[in-house]
């Protein structure tokens, strides 16, 4: 009974509870207005959107916790499948090699982000903003404005984005769940995760106790770029085509799902599960609004509203919690 109470306390104190409640409320509202919510097509739409932004979001969250930003994820989301598609179609490479090469490129760009930020001391916000523009230009150059398509036989494409049997769910959802689980484990249950938390601290506290902060941040930059590229490849697997405009504004949506999920913009505090929930929230919102026939422009405005509300709630909770702890000696 005591462990149950402890568990209950833990759940209620968790940062993820807020967005989870928000998700449940939103689902209830949409379902109440239009009971067609839990239908296969709706689930497909919801989970596809959630998976794309969720995978990118996990990478962004992991980096934000370590105290850095990556604004180039939207461009990476397009570049990686574009490179993969070009290698596959124009150069006739094997699809697995194309995929590996494209992912390697993503990691390399992430590494460059880290290098410029940490070696040259430029704020990651700026570095990755530059990368965003550079990679966007690369995308336009590589595609010359046309779509990159591949509809031939493939074993890789179904793995990346194919349908799961005859269910309304697609492979991207599995990937999102797996990636969430993996990174939750790394963050919360490994030494590297502890170091990631510490790297987000200011002033070199972590360094003072021997945490290899620079190395951790470098690795996290690579991870973020790789996850963004991978997410783009799952969409490539799903649609069979990719254009240079894909993933536009993804960097903003990724930050939104991270922050709504409970991750702080200032580092250290963050939750991978929260990002997962945030992604589901976004998918629910977008498809739900279409379902009830609301005007399309409402979606963007609502996202902004939800973001602000979520941040206000999180900040107040943090303050209240700390205050309450301070005020009450045992």
């Amino acid at each position: 009974m005591d462990t149950l109470r402890l568990l209950g306390r833990k759940i209620v104190r968790a940062r993820e509870l807020g967005p989870l409640v928000g998700l449940v409320v939103m689902l209830s509202i949409f379902q109440a207005i239009n009971p067609l919510f839990f239908t296969p097509n709706e689930m497909t739409g919801l989970t596809t959107i959630a998976a794309s932004v969720g995978i990118v979001g996990v990478g962004v969250t992991f980096l934000m916790i370590a105290g850095e930003f990556d604004l180039s994820v939207g461009a990476m989301y397009a570049l990686t499948p574009i490179v993969m598609g070009k290698l596959l179609t124009t150069f006739g490479w094997n699809e697995w090699l194309s995929f590996a090469a494209a992912m390697l490129l993503a990691v390399a760009i992430g590494f460059l982000n880290g290098l410029v930020t940490l070696r040259l001391g430029i704020p990651s916000f700026i570095t990755t903003l530059g990368t965003l523009f550079i990679v966007n230009g690369m995308n336009l150059l590589l595609t010359s404005g046309q779509q990159v398509e591949y509809y031939g036989t493939s074993t890789l494409f179904p793995i990346l984005g194919g349908q799961l049997g005859s269910s309304p769910f697609y492979a991207a959802l599995i990937w999102m769940v797996v990636i969430t689980a993996v990174f939750w484990f790394v963050l919360e249950r490994t030494r590297y995760g502890n170091w990631t938390f510490a790297a987000g601290g200011r002033g070199g506290i972590a360094r003072a106790v021997g945490v290899p902060v620079t190395r951790v941040k470098n690795i996290n930059f690579c991870i973020t770029a790789a996850l963004a590229g991978f997410a783009g490849c799952t969409e490539f697997g799903y649609l069979g085509s990719v254009s240079s405009g894909q993933g536009t504004q993804m960097e903003l949506y990724a930050i939104v799902v991270a922050v709504v999920g409970g991750t702080s913009l200032f580092g250290i505090t963050g939750t991978i599960i929260g990002t997962f929930i945030g992604a589901l929230l976004l998918g629910t919102l977008e498809t739900g609004l279409v379902l009830i026939g609301a005007p399309g422009s409402l979606y963007t405005s609502l996202i902004g509203l939800i973001l602000i509300i979520a941040v206000i709630i999180n900040v107040r909770l943090d303050r209240l919690y700390t205050l309450r702890m301070r005020r009450a000696p045992k």
Binding site: R189, R191, G193, I268
Partner: protein
């Protein structure tokens, strides 16, 4: 945790101190930056269980001296001895590895993280789960619990709480306890009580006493004489790159000490 050493242990500690080598000793240490010499023939030794206050105005060479002790710089001349044996630290990591730890006033603890995460930061305990090595959280929580309970903190409830739930002084104590737990031999405390209230200060001083009782050497750096004087066994004044004075606590009052630093009243100089 007691706040006074009993007479019996005091005398045995004293004789033990007399028989032991200093925790750290600097002999004729000089430091040049390019063509400029910033430290001249510094001789300093710290015995186990001793608190040495290090004072001096900014630019006097204090920070350079500290950087040599903690392994950021190598001396340009002279030598550093650790427990009687000469050492050359090629990096701060090396100094840390042999037990030289610095506790900064505001850089010791990450407030948002839980106490156990803070306590074991950089020295996490791990166990195997099949092919994976994961954090041994139950054990870390338990040890953190034990160590912090010894401190008698009033606000401490669980090692899962964020460090922010403790007061400033308590966090300092945690940092000191952490250093001790991981085998520090020399503790450098940088203005540990600067931003603390009187009651909070007492917490920190209690931790310092515990450390002292365990035979650690302690360097206490501060501008404020009122902080240094009651704690330090000896006060070393650094001025213009030299050891200008070494005073035992009993030989000088707080006011005289302040004057000495401000150079308005020379007083007794060794």
């Amino acid at each position: 945790m007691s706040d006074a050493v009993t007479p019996a242990t005091a005398s045995s500690a004293a004789s033990a101190v007399a028989a032991q080598a200093p925790v750290i000793e600097l002999r004729d240490v000089c430091k040049d930056y390019g063509n400029t010499r910033v430290l001249y023939d510094v001789n300093l030794s710290i015995m186990p269980g001793e608190v040495v206050g290090l004072v001096g105005d900014n630019g006097a060479g204090k920070s350079t001296l500290l950087k040599i002790i903690t392994g950021y710089h190598l001396p340009s001349a002279g030598a550093v001895y650790l427990a009687g044996r000469p050492v050359r630290f090629s990096s701060p990591a090396e100094a840390r590895a042999v037990g030289i730890e610095t506790v900064y006033q505001d850089l010791a603890i990450i407030n948002e993280l839980s106490l156990w995460r803070n306590f074991f930061m950089g020295k996490e305990l791990r166990r195997n789960l099949g092919p994976l090595r994961m954090l041994d959280i139950p054990r870390m929580r338990q040890i953190c619990n034990e160590e912090l309970s010894k401190l008698g903190l009033t606000r401490f409830r669980s090692p899962d709480e964020p460090a922010a739930s403790l007061s400033g002084g308590e966090r300092q104590s945690v940092a000191i306890t952490r250093a001790m737990y991981f085998g520090a031999r020399l503790l450098l405390l940088d203005e540990p009580t600067a931003a603390l209230s009187v009651r909070e200060t007492r917490n920190v001083l209690a931790s310092i006493d515990t450390a002292r009782g365990q035979g650690l050497g302690i360097v206490y750096i501060d501008h404020n004489m009122a902080h240094v004087h009651p704690v330090a066994d000896r006060v070393v004044l650094i001025e213009h790159g030299r050891v200008a004075a070494t005073l035992k606590r009993g030989d000088v009052s707080v006011a005289e000490l302040s004057d000495l630093v401000a150079r308005t009243h020379p007083g007794q100089v060794q």
